[in-house]
Symmetry: C2
Subunit: 514 residues, 2 copies
Amino acid sequence: MMDASCVCLAMRPMLTSVSTASRPLYRRLAAEYVQAMGLGTLQLGEKMPSVRELMRRHQVSLSTALQVLRYLEEQGYLEAKPRVGYFVRDARTPLSGSLALTSEPDLSQPVQPNAQAHFVGINEHISLLLERGRQALVHLDVGGCTPPAALFDHRYLNQLVARLLREQPTLLVQGRSLLANQGNHPVFQQAMARRALATGIRVAPADVLATTGNSEAVSLALAAVAVPGDMVAVESPTYYGLLQVVESLQLQTLEIPCSPRTGLSIEALELAFQTQPRLKAVVVVPELQMPLGTRMPDAHKARLVALCTRYGAALIEDDSYGLFVEGAQPVKPLKAWDSGLGQVIYCQAFNKSLAPGLRQGWMNGGQWHGRVQMLKFAQSRNTQTLGQLVVAEVLGSPTHQRSLERLKMQLKNQRESMARLVARTFPVGTRMSLPAGGLCLWVELPDGFSSAALFGQALEQGIRIAPGSMFSNSGRYEHCLRLACTQPVDAVMEQAMQLLGSMACAQLGQAPRS
Amino acid sequence: MMDASCVCLAMRPMLTSVSTASRPLYRRLAAEYVQAMGLGTLQLGEKMPSVRELMRRHQVSLSTALQVLRYLEEQGYLEAKPRVGYFVRDARTPLSGSLALTSEPDLSQPVQPNAQAHFVGINEHISLLLERGRQALVHLDVGGCTPPAALFDHRYLNQLVARLLREQPTLLVQGRSLLANQGNHPVFQQAMARRALATGIRVAPADVLATTGNSEAVSLALAAVAVPGDMVAVESPTYYGLLQVVESLQLQTLEIPCSPRTGLSIEALELAFQTQPRLKAVVVVPELQMPLGTRMPDAHKARLVALCTRYGAALIEDDSYGLFVEGAQPVKPLKAWDSGLGQVIYCQAFNKSLAPGLRQGWMNGGQWHGRVQMLKFAQSRNTQTLGQLVVAEVLGSPTHQRSLERLKMQLKNQRESMARLVARTFPVGTRMSLPAGGLCLWVELPDGFSSAALFGQALEQGIRIAPGSMFSNSGRYEHCLRLACTQPVDAVMEQAMQLLGSMACAQLGQAPRS
């Protein structure tokens, strides 16, 4: 059996096998500190210099300083104590529930929070990749994360639509009624508010805004709280759709490091607030972060909400994947820690968990709800009523609960099988996440690997993957890729993974694994 | 029988009955020119000073100069010769197909194209009015223009949905396929491109972008061609939803006068291009302009497209009402005059003509199509497939053609009955449009009338109207209102119109009409 939280195919040699000149700056600085630890200059348990101190001492940028600390933490040399700082630990002792996932930024393009140039063109880049995928003859898609139709109970949904149209025959020909709050159906609002309450969120039904999905919701949220030129903190790596939204609104992305264990670094975010006055919003997927699959611990959630409240920034929560968390424990969204101030803008979509063809979700804009509602109405009027009623009915039904459990079980099996295939076929030195639920694996290959090259090669063979460059504006995930676990793992899939693995091995000059 | 194009309840005394001091500036200037005509200083057939000349001579703004000319034209003193200018005519000879509709701007807040302050808050204003309408116990809505469910063939639509779900059982659980162009279903694209061709528009099926409606389409179009602070020319008066879109994107509105006979003043637009470098887009409803109901003559359409092409501005065409034009003549959209340059962004929605509950439309972004498509995908991903397939099927069916003809006939009857009720019950001096199709009447009451006051009074009686202040940022339509003709004209309606009429008469100190 594999470790539940990670898979490490082989231990990577630490900071020794390459010449320092070709290493990125943060690696060289990290190596200095490792040396200092070896020499005893920095003792076990001693506090590491803070980010500010590192910036000052080495004349480096915020992101480089953060990367030094993050890298040393990930390599096991440092331990983070929330709100205090980083402390030297014994790198030979494994961390409890440790992670094997490390990120290996390519700092040939260092991340500069304010460098506008880095935030232009992600849409073109992503569109190009999607377009290449579309034009190729793809027979196996492990790039997109929407579960295939076969994993949903379409009969139940179709019967429900038929029943709704029988009971309310004029549903499709009715505009928004004067009674309905700007096109938000009271039945839908009631259902969402009730569900939210069960997870610890208090939202009045009238404050439930129906949306067509989470891109729309996050887009409205950002437009409500920021103006062009403002900055938005996002998780790194993050869902490429979010980078598209941010860019399309002419906002700037500030990528905040994410620990695969605990999610978004709250220390880094705090520093960002202190140094970036135009930082107006933070977008977070607290449960099954996309693409890492991280579940943010409750204590972190509370701190994150408090931090955003302190700095008056909007905390935009995308809670669409919380539905995929395995196990009986109830999942508590960030919004559950939101005080009376309404600092959290909550967004949830049901495309992936209920019916990808329906395009239905909802949001609550917290203290910005009025503005969100106004923007929604101005820019796309009301959301289709049929979809609202279908979702309201489905979510309350035991049939759907059973379907969702089946879906989660199937995804879990597929995810584990995919992980085994990666472990068997991908190059020595490959690492990956193994999240507690969700739709994908994040795979990190050794330095020098190009997921863009693999994307092209794989496409020629009819296989579509999602290369790491889609998940950041910084180019630091070029050696990573996202593998969807939404497809059945059959002989075709095994063959495809074998092929991907051997192409990756060839790129790195390794012999094929099996 | 009423005149087909207008109703004038009584001739308004011209420029004499009020003291000049209380008159707006443009009226005082107009009076000077009328005097000049009376004295023979300006002879019949003589060319009137140009807008520029008026601006220079009287040290007035662009909008005041335009208003002078427009007012004199509407009063019959001037005749416009396209691309040449205005000429003095005999005010006693009626214009062929003349209009009785005049606009009576309240220039206590003069329109300044660049005054940002005037473009802030229209959303709040409109939201407030809609919210008041929502909270009141409305039993008769002549404010909203969506035809009631009873005017549509819901059985046909429901059967169609049932059939589609039978034939394609996984429709609701399928995400966008890799093969479909970013969620635009090929069947829908094909159907729209074919329909467009029949009206003279050449659009490749792949360049059809499915939208949820025209607010989304126009919002995407504007976001694609303009950045915050840029200026958008709109018709005056215009659909309030457009003012909301423009404001929500932090753009500025420039209101261009509209002749009820020919639509948007092309002379005024040309001058605007010459004087406003930030003017990036023009939004036009060429057929059955909302709320005036004007049909733009084909020659005007050609000139408008040429003008926008010359100035490199996007011409955004909302062609949702062209479907409501009565008669057998095919309606040719602006886009049909678009050259190879793709200056026209074409938008069409089917909410009001086919199924208000479906939220389905499409657009083609012309030369900006790639950017529009990118924004759509970034901000709300794909549009629901079911809606696309329903619309594609319905539009091609003879059943729908018959429904649409029935709908138009019904609307025509209701519109004419409503006009008769207005003529019978509204104050002496009331004028109104009587358009060749569509969903509403634009009613203009004598100076001193407040449609905002009537809105409040009517709401107390359970009647909702749309006051003129919703249709402009300038406040110049305070004495106007829009009456929807989408409801059956029965005893309840007659009573309601009687009530509205007598409240309006009371406001003006007139005795009730009947």
